[in-house]
């Protein structure tokens, strides 16, 4: 199911199948609900079975942009946010060479990375180490790495550059779609739909009064 299809499914469910121009169901709001519900489902799934099914992963080939480079010692790349799973796993699945023969070590905070540099075995150089921080990724190795691949569980799959909104399947498994519906409908949209909005611009709370359009 592509993302526009999924989005339409959620909106249709919320308004009983009819189209609506209600601002509470605008795309930005619905998109964020779908992504956050997916993140919750992934965490639940991981807790339940200990792994995340492959359908949730997206291939990511970071682009080496010369203007982003701020050091001669490592390469810097843009990095979409990942979904943290627990203390020992996160949404960074495979990180390594294009051919997948070589794996890079991943680390998610600079303090841990600095500790690793003091260790003979863990320090970068013997192996490539990928330091992922907010929106940014550094690849430390004995020489500059400009090309590699990742399989990631992005917090927002639409932010992965290779994702085509109109054609690519949204990374969620078919079994979880109904749980996604339930999660969004019960927790978010019910609340949003049942809340009466104050539509009279008179500097007063009129949400308890019925809305009568002006003649």
């Amino acid at each position: 199911m592509t993302f526009p299809e999924l989005r339409q499914r959620i909106i249709s469910g919320a308004v009983g199948g009819s189209m609506s121009a209600d601002v509470r169901f605008d795309f930005g709001y619905i998109d964020s609900l779908i992504n956050s519900a997916r993140a919750t489902l992934i965490k639940e799934l991981f807790k339940e079975i200990g792994v995340v099914p492959p359908v949730y992963y997206q291939p990511y080939f970071p682009d080496y942009v010369e203007d982003m480079q701020d050091s001669a010692n490592y390469s810097t790349f843009y990095m979409p946010d990942l979904i943290p799973l627990d203390g020992t796993s996160d949404g960074g699945g495979f990180v390594g060479s294009i051919t997948c023969h070589q794996q890079f070590n991943q680390v998610n905070n600079r303090s841990e990375f600095a500790d690793m540099q003091r260790d003979r075995i863990m320090k970068a150089g013997r192996r490539a180490v990928v330091l992922i921080t907010k929106g940014r990724m550094e690849v430390h190795y004995k020489n500059k790495i400009k090309e590699f691949r990742m399989e990631i569980i992005a917090a927002d799959p639409l932010e992965v550059p290779s994702f085509n909104l109109n054609y690519d399947e949204y990374p969620i498994d078919a079994n979880s779609l109904s749980r996604l519906d339930d999660f969004i409908m019960k927790i978010h949209l019910d609340r949003a739909q049942n809340a009466v909005s104050d539509r009279i611009a008179n500097n007063r709370d009129d949400s308890s009064r019925p809305f009568k359009p002006q003649q």
Binding site: T88, S89, G92, V95, F104, N105, M122
Partner: protein, 244 residues
């Protein structure tokens, strides 16, 4: 058969259900290398050779060095050695042995030992030199003029990066060790039964590996022991000659 440490990392990740991430790889590699050293098997140590630079009569020994076997200054060759012919009084046979060469310098690892040597009255101390090994440095006599030295030493069986070279037999033990240590560090994620079973597996495998290594070592050295025994008991006079 020797295996790469990556193979053990993979096995450990499968045990720990961490195959969907490389976050723990570096730490697991460290634990596996640590486990390999803790195995303390006889064949964990091998004979190595290295040519070292001498600076201020000191030479830095390799990091994985454990025990010095012998050393030689490059370029010294045994020229003009005398040969002594000794006759076996029992059967009249003769044997030729090199002796009394000026180039045959004896290095003694301990100064006190050299002193004791002199005290025996054999008057051998004039051709003796002492050396010391301290803090991973080989300290040579002050008379040393050479700039390099070739050493043979026993050291941990490591690759170019200083990581232990692993036997296929030890894969199970090492992955159990790494899994046990990792699970103890992340005890909320793994249950006690699992942690304990990995610990038991590590201890059992370690004992088995150590026993097997001793057995293999014994088999390997059996001919040498037999040869020495034969030499001593069957032809003691010649044996003594060759060890003069």
């Amino acid at each position: 058969m020797k295996i790469n440490i990556d193979q053990v990392i993979t096995r450990t990740k499968f045990r720990l259900k961490l195959t969907n991430s490389t976050l723990a790889n570096a730490y697991l590699e460290k634990l596996i290398d640590e486990g390999a050293r803790h195995l303390d098997k006889i064949d964990n140590y091998i004979v190595n050779c290295a040519e070292l630079d001498i600076d201020c009569i000191e030479a830095k020994l390799p990091d994985h060095y454990d025990e010095l076997l012998c050393f030689k200054f490059p370029g010294t060759s045994c020229v003009g050695c005398c040969e002594t012919v000794i006759t076996n009084p029992a059967d009249g046979t003769t044997a030729t042995i090199p002796s009394g060469c000026g180039c045959r310098r004896i290095f003694v690892a301990n100064r006190q030992l050299l002193t004791n040597f002199c005290d025996t009255g054999v008057n051998a101390c004039w051709w003796g030199n002492t050396f010391e090994v301290q803090n991973g440095m080989l300290l040579l006599p002050t008379s040393t003029t050479a700039t390099t030295i070739k050493v043979w030493y026993k050291g941990a069986n490591v690759d170019d990066d200083g990581i232990m070279v692993l036997d296929e037999d030890s894969e199970r033990a090492l992955s159990a060790y790494a899994a046990f240590q990792f699970a103890v560090d992340n005890f909320k994620k793994y249950d006690r039964y699992q942690i304990e079973s990995w610990k038991r597996e590590w201890v059992a495998q370690k004992n088995w590996l150590k026993g097997s290594a001793v057995k293999k070592d014994h088999q390997l050295h059996l001919p040498a022991v037999a040869a020495i025994a034969n030499a001593i008991f069957l032809d003691p006079w010649l044996t003594a000659d060759r060890n003069m």
